[in-house]
Point group: C2
Chain length 386, copies 2
């Protein structure tokens, strides 16, 4: 056989994908690995109705090629959503580009911005899936420690002073994945000051804002110099399987992003029109307060259970879906034992950039009901004691 | 402003996208530019019903993350479609990977296979959108002339003898875009022989097979050594806005392709399940004979009209949507005049690799009803005479 892997560039499986596959094959397991939104809050009935309405309105036109950049109806609705519901100021010079999920946006931006040898700065740890496309482009990652106030921007400043020249600063400032931290307003200001001083470009990944109870202003809103590219997603507020995300960036940059979209045209037209309708008819707006409460309550259960069974071991997540728990034992090696106890998590070693922490586990509360979250933590704790 | 285009890699707009945008803003124009399938044969009602059924069966599960490689239901149905309906033998060692359109597949394969300086061989002319991702990877394109028997494989052999070392041979052997030619069986055999002798990898792009009346065996079917990667699409047989395509390749290679899909996860889950259902319930199979006749009749009208009004100017397309017409004047400069006469086409200069032909136009019959195709050709011919 010729067309074997030797002809292809090699990649790694995501630790999240690997854990998800394992979980799929196991029944009765409590899945604290999945980063998927809660299936119980996906507005299934409404999505089905909207699809039917969309077909009635558009007919065959609803099934033609999408064109690059997003269908105009969705671009218009998303612009209004971003400013009214997410409270983000889109500048006059800014353009919103539809992508098939924030992940797709990050990949395309990596292709446009990064070349072999370029440096991308990230929080340490960071979201594996977001930075793997950067690595694939040949970029070298530099991790900056994160604490409960977000990325330690003074550490970043130190490195810049000593000559670090990053091509891109990638941050998840609000409801960090995997730590759950929210960057403080002071650090946000500091990051933007540094960006100005050292001529930096910031990629703000903000998928959890719609479900976050009381988020600080986004970096994009505070940016007056066009230094922030904003990426967000409809995955948490509607459904991840729709594959609808968006990027807000300057007009010239948006033009290149749209041209690169010609290489895949990957956002389904009927789904774009469906989401436009969900926004226009107020479905998304009506869901937001409920979702904020829903995930807040679940996070409280997760952190409360961790405090009860594994005090001191975890990051005090403010929002989002995740916390990092230090198991005290190698998380990868412990996984079969945890699974035998009926719980699964994501070994998080590879979320770290500078120094792998083998005992770190990413624990998610997103897909499980409250009683299962509590039970899952109990099982995890027992599996560690046995 | 900082985040301007100077920070980004620059790309080109596709000549097809540019012409489509122009056409969108003009009323009363006959669009011979669009490569979209005919909206009148998209099974809109059936797709709406299938969506409803899918929601009833899967509920929220139909809206979760797709996972890499495609949902198992769709992979299974596509494998059976490929062998039963397209007549393509999938080897035991071959894996089918779902992508968001053939275009997405070609892009991902370009990322996996091509590095700066690599050579990709194509028919000359070839489909702009397919090769732009190869160029973006830094590959150098080498064009091999195409005639009514397909790529001139003896010319390719000459170049190989003289030391050409291509990383990839990209071909659209059946219903070529933009020429409409079908590669002869002899040339297919020859290409595979050459591939064996010179250790070549072939990317077979085959989106028109489902609507082609009597296609020869695909290269993939004739390939016993794993030298052919097969890419196809549901765009022509169901609808292009669904963004469902697939790639068939060896297991090891498929694994890398799926890992690369983790970088975008761009194929919408509900649409994957919808298409699986359309295959399982026989919708796709029932459409195929009708579509083959439909497009054959339209192609006959196009070629008949060209023979009447512009004899000798065009490639004798056997199938697909396109023919190349030599206008005798610069096609780009003539376009405003054609538009004033009520017809639009794609200036095809940039479809050529080795030597641009400024008077070449890509003419499509796919979206227009028969009477408009004839009228469009008449208008084009008049615009050239005036």
């Amino acid at each position: 056989m010729f067309v074997g892997a030797q002809a292809f560039r090699r990649l790694e499986w995501s630790p999240v994908e690997l854990a998800s596959r394992t979980a799929r094959d196991l029944s009765g397991i409590i899945n604290l690995a999945s980063g998927s939104p809660d299936p119980s809050v996906i507005p299934v009935k409404e999505l089905a109705e909207l699809f039917e309405e969309m077909v009635r309105e558009y007919g065959a036109k609803g099934f033609l090629y999408p064109g690059a950049g997003g269908v105009p109806e969705l671009v218009k609705e998303l612009r209004s959503y971003v400013s009214s519901d997410l409270g983000i100021d889109i500048g006059e010079g800014d353009v919103l580009v539809v992508v098939s999920g924030a992940q797709h946006g990050i990949k395309l931006l990596s292709q446009l911005l990064l070349e072999p040898g370029d440096i991308a700065v990230t929080e340490d740890p960071t979201f594996w899936e977001a930075v793997d496309p950067m690595r694939f482009q040949g970029a070298r990652l530099v991790g900056i420690p994160i604490d409960e106030y977000g990325m330690d921007t003074s550490k970043l400043e130190d490195l810049l002073r000593r000559g670090l020249k990053p091509r891109l600063i990638y941050v998840i400032p609000t409801c960090h994945n995997p730590c759950g931290y929210v960057m403080s307003l002071d650090r946000r200001k500091h990051l933007l000051e540094i960006a100005e001083e050292y001529d930096l470009l910031i990629l703000e990944d903000d998928p959890y804002r719609p479900i976050s109870p009381n988020p600080p202003p986004s970096l994009k809103s505070m940016d007056r110099r066009g230094r922030v590219i904003y990426v967000c997603s409809m995955s948490k507020v509607l459904a991840p399987g729709l594959r609808i995300g968006f990027v807000v960036l300057s007009r010239d940059a948006a033009e290149e992003l749209s041209k690169l979209e010609q290489h895949d045209f990957s956002t389904a037209t009927p789904i774009q029109l469906l989401v436009a309708r969900a926004l226009r008819k107020g479905l998304v707006r009506s869901l937001i307060p409920r979702l904020r409460m829903h995930y807040k309550e679940k996070m409280d259960v997760l952190l409360g259970s961790l405090e009860e069974h594994m005090p001191g071991s975890y990051t005090k997540a403010e929002c989002g879906f995740f916390t990092i728990v230090r198991l005290g034992v190698d998380a990868e090696r412990h996984l079969p034992k945890a699974i035998a106890s009926g719980v699964i998590y994501v070994p998080a070693k590879d979320f770290y950039i500078e120094k792998k922490l083998p005992d770190a586990a990413r624990i998610s509360m997103s897909t499980q009901p409250k009683e299962k979250i509590a039970e899952g933590v109990k099982r995890l704790s027992s599996s560690l004691k046995s």
